[in-house]
Symmetry: C2
Subunit: 223 residues, 2 copies
C-alpha cells in the first residue's frame, strides 16, 4: 500500500510497482487510477500522458538510487570493498523480499521500452551512467586495495552488467542460485584484482565477510 | 523480411522481431498478421492465442541457441577458451548489426513477461538453463586451461548474467562501450582463473586474440 498521501507521489509509486511487476504496456491508466484511488481529473492534471508518468517513475528510481541503494543502504557498511557488495546485496534482497515478482527497476524498464520510447530510453541511459558514477566512487574509495592503474569505470560497467543480468536470470528462474553464482564471481574477480602484483601492498588484500546492512530498505521496497 | 514461405514460420519470425523490438504487450495480433501477410483464419489456426505464439517464439529462440549461437557461430573458432568469447561476441554483433534496436532475445522477453505470464517464464527459465548447459560444455572443453576444481556451472551462470546485463545497458545507452567493458572484464576474469596456482600448467595461460567467426549469422539476424 502507498504510504504517502500526496496524490502525485501515490500515482508514481503505484505506477512504478505495476510497470515493474507486469510491464508498462500491460498496465492501463485505469488500473493505476483505481489502485491509487484517484480520479482521472487528478491523474491528467499531474500526467497529461502515460509517458509523462513513466518519466516521473524513472526519476523516482533515480532518487532511490541516490538516497537508498548508494546511500542509506550502505550506511552500516564501512569497509570500502564491502560497500560494493552492499550494492550487489541490495539487488538480492529486492528479489527475495518480493518473491521474484520484481526485477531490477532500471533493467526491467530498459528491456521493454528502449526501442519504442526514445525519451524514456534517454533518461534510463542517464541513470545507468549515474549508477556507474556512484559505483566508481566506491571503487575509488577502495584505494590501494585495487591496482592503481585499474580502469575503475570499466569495472563499474562490468559490475552493473553482472547484477542486472543476474536479476533477470534469478527472476525468470525463480531462484537466487544464479544471482549468488554471479555475486560469487564478482567477489572472486575483485579478489583476483586485489592480489595482482600491481596492487600496492595493503594490510589486507582479501575482502572481509560482509556485515549485515539492513538499515534502510524503504526505498527499494517502495518500488 | 521473412525469408521462409511456411506461414507458421513466417508468423513466428515476424512476431519474434516485433516482440523483441517493441515489446510483447505493445504488439497487436493485427500488426503481426499484416506484417506476415496472412489472414486471421490462418493465424488462429496455428496460434489460438497470442500466448501460444510467444511460446513458439521462445522455442524458436531455443533452436537458434542450439544451432546458431552455440554451434554454427562457433564453427570457425577452434581454441576452447575463445569459443566462450565467440558466444559473447555473438551478442555484440547482434546489438551492432541491428543498431541497438534488438537486445538479447531471452533477457528481453524475461524482463517483460516473467511475472505476468507464468508459462512463458517457465519456458524461458528452461532456456536460460540450456544456455548454461551449452556454456558448461565449452568450459569443460577448456580442460586444464582452467583450475580442475573450478565450478564451471557457476562460472557459466556468471558469464550469462554479465552478457545479458551488458546487452540491456548497451541497448539503453546506444553504445557498445558498456558491452566491451563487460567483455573485457570477463576476459580478465578467465585470464585470472587460468593463472591461479591450482590451474595445471598449460602451454599458454592467456587467451589468444579471437579469430573472426562470421560463418553463420543467419539465426541471430532472423530475430
Amino acid at each position: 500500500m502507498p504510504r504517502r498521501t500526496n496524490t502525485r507521489e501515490r500515482l508514481i509509486e503505484t505506477a512504478a510497482d505495476l510497470f515493474l511487476r507486469q510491464g508498462y504496456a500491460h498496465t492501463g491508466v485505469n488500473e493505476i487510477m483505481q489502485r491509487a484511488q484517484t480520479t482521472s481529473g487528478s491523474f491528467y492534471h499531474f500526467f497529461p500522458t502515460k509517458e509523462d508518468l513513466v518519466l516521473a517513475v524513472v526519476d523516482h528510481i533515480g532518487e532511490s538510487l541516490d538516497t537508498g541503494v548508494f546511500s542509506a543502504d550502505l550506511a552500516a557498511v564501512t569497509d570500502p570493498v564491502e560497500r560494493v557488495f552492499g550494492v550487489v546485496d541490495s539487488y538480492r534482497r529486492h528479489l527475495a523480499d518480493n518473491d521474484f515478482t520484481l526485477g531490477s527497476p532500471l533493467g526491467t524498464l530498459a528491456a521493454e521500452l528502449s526501442d519504442s520510447h526514445p525519451q524514456v530510453r534517454e533518461r534510463l541511459a542517464a541513470l545507468f551512467t549515474r549508477w556507474i558514477d556512484h559505483m566508481e566512487v566506491l571503487l575509488e574509495d577502495a584505494g590501494n586495495r585495487l591496482p592503481g592503474d585499474l580502469d575503475r569505470r570499466a569495472l563499474a560497467d562490468f559490475i552493473l552488467s553482472a547484477v542486472e543480468g543476474a536479476a533477470v536470470q534469478a527472476r525468470a528462474r525463480r531462484s537466487l542460485a544464479p544471482f549468488d553464482a554471479t555475486a560469487a564471481g564478482l567477489r572472486r574477480h575483485l579478489g583476483a584484482l586485489a592480489s595482482t602484483p600491481k596492487a600496492a601492498a595493503a594490510p589486507e588484500t582479501r575482502p572481509r565477510p560482509a556485515p549485515a546492512s539492513r538499515s534502510s530498505r524503504a526505498d527499494w521496497r517502495a518500488w
